[in-house]
Amino acid sequence: MSGTSERPGTGTGSDDGAPEPLLRVRGVRKAFGDNVVLDGIDLDVRPHQVIALIGASGSGKSTLLRTIDLLEEVDDGDIWLDGLDICDPRVDANAVRARMGMVFQSFNLFGHLRVLENVALAQRLVHGVARAEADERALAMLERVGLADKARSFPDELSGGQQQRVAIARALVSSPRLLLLDEVTSALDPELVGEVLDLLTELRAEGHTMLIATHEMAFARDVADEVCFLHHGRIHEQGPAAQVLTDPQQPRTREFLRRMLPR
């Protein structure tokens, strides 16, 4: 794992023809006190792949996303991003986080900043982009998510769906290698879910690599290439979305899906 590959484009080129994983998670453990939340997670995300994390509330989906984004420290195990061991304490964690985009369950837009400033902030502070240029990029990204007309508004003047689209724009503006999305629709009213899911579907078509924790099975089926079922801190089943969701192999997955999709 010594080659810190920095290829911006596709990640193809390993010996067996399968694309090299963009993200490689091995044996990750994380406990809060006695509560073992992640109990040895193995996961690969290849470039342009969209993986949905499903599982009951408290199964550790958010914790996994947060440890990948280095917002939590792992207790054990390894995480590589682009071949770089990001759990190494000597690695610049801020630089690693800046290469990933994360969108949270509840909106954490910065309430004191206008929409445009929310999107431009990290460009200026982290990526050293001059203000005018940062604003320009932010505006272009807002245009991309269909909210250019809200650039001058404050976040709490927006609907929940609009806020979440701004949060996605904020995560996207730095061209992240990997997008981590944590139940981005679960705090939204049903009629607002659609606009966010539509946006994610478009992002997938553009080739963004995404790891998505979700309660929306229909969305997981439509957008994800693969589905990962998390239960008590372990991945019990992983496979093509359609197969896992319609024909789960593991009894636990079956039981979970029966409760999620009452028929």
């Binding site: 947060r66 984004d69 917002l71 801020n94 630089a95 986080r97 800046a98 290469r99 990933m100 985009g101 994360m102 949270f104 509840s106 954490n108 837009l109 910065f110 309430g111 004191h112 902030l121 990290a122 502070l125 982290v126 990526h127 404050f154 709490d156 003047e157 904020r170 995560a171 730095s174």
Partner: protein, 296 residues
């Protein structure tokens, strides 16, 4: 305010809505009249009660003498100018010192233990000490040390004592503000790649400071009054000036003049800062204050 609502798109309100508006207008008018009447009655009762006390004529002469008031006004005003300057300088110093103290207290991790402990000890100490005591110790103790480069000016020493004490209070206000910013805001900032310091500087502090504007205003008003305490060190401020004129005329009216001027100072202070805060949207958007008043 509801009857002042804009009717968007030139639409005509329904009969029911007009009726509701009329009811609200009537209720508003009625409560204005009630407030006015009760104010008049209460004031009249209090005034009559005081004026009819046996000692009133003497008190009136020694506390409310118009000629003495006019004679003392220039001196007291001059003294008040000192209070204003002390207020402004002290407020600025307190703001930044208290912010530093608050940040030190919220730092996490063993590296920052000494800073955190020092800030905590400082706040505990100066929040517990009466301002008067700090004033006396600083005002008379420091000159007693005879440090060559140290000022002996009662204004500076008095100002120092005020800064020492108030910073402890204001630091606690700031700390409450910092801790009221939800941790997810920090998580969002860090996930974008901002460092801990950048997240504090650009995300946490701006929101914390906005949130504590109302309690800070309160402290500012208290500060404007306590600036008068420097007179006990001999600084020639409004209270000291009033004291001097009082002894010249053997009449207490100058104190009333000084009190009146302090009130005149603090009222615009609060009104101005309120208006300023509202205009810059500080109390609006995210504080939860916006719109609250419109609820029944």
């Amino acid at each position: 305010m509801s009857d002042m609502r804009e009717r968007a798109g030139g639409y005509e309100p329904s009969a029911r809505q007009r009726e509701r508006d009329a009811i609200r207008r009537r209720a508003a008018r009625r409560s204005t009249v009630t407030a006015f009447a009760s104010t008049v009655v209460v004031t009249a009762v209090v005034v009559l009660a005081v004026v009819n006390t046996p000692g009133w004529p003497r008190v009136r002469k020694s506390f409310l003498d118009w000629d003495v008031a006019v004679a003392s006004l220039p001196k007291v005003l001059e003294g008040l100018w000192l209070n204003v300057r002390v207020l402004v300088v002290a407020a600025v110093v307190i703001f930044f010192f208290a912010l530093v103290l608050a940040i030190c207290r919220t730092l996490r991790g063993p590296v920052f233990f000494p800073l955190r402990a020092a800030a905590t000890a400082y706040v505990d100490l100066f929040r517990g000490l009466p301002l008067l005591l700090v004033l006396l110790v600083v005002g008379f103790g420091i000159p007693g040390l005879r440090i060559p480069w140290m000022t002996t000016s009662p204004v500076w020493l008095g100002g120092l004592a005020i800064v020492l004490t108030y910073s402890a209070y204001v630091a606690e206000v700031f700390r409450a503000g910092i801790e009221s910013v939800h941790p997810s805001q920090v998580a969002a900032a860090r996930s974008l790649g901002l460092s801990r310091a950048q997240a504090t500087r650009h995300v946490v502090l701006p929101q914390a400071v906005r949130r504590v504007v109302p309690p800070l205003l309160n402290d500012l008003v208290a500060l404007s009054k306590d600036s008068g305490l420097i007179s006990i060190l001999g600084a020639y401020d409004a209270i000291r000036a009033a004291q001097v004129v009082t002894s010249q005329h053997a009449n207490f009216t100058p104190y009333i003049v000084a009190g009146f001027l302090f009130i005149l100072l603090t009222i615009p202070l609060t009104r101005f800062t309120d208006a300023f805060a509202r205009r810059s949207g500080w109390l609006g958007a995210q504080s939860g204050l916006a719109g609250g008043g419109a609820l029944r």
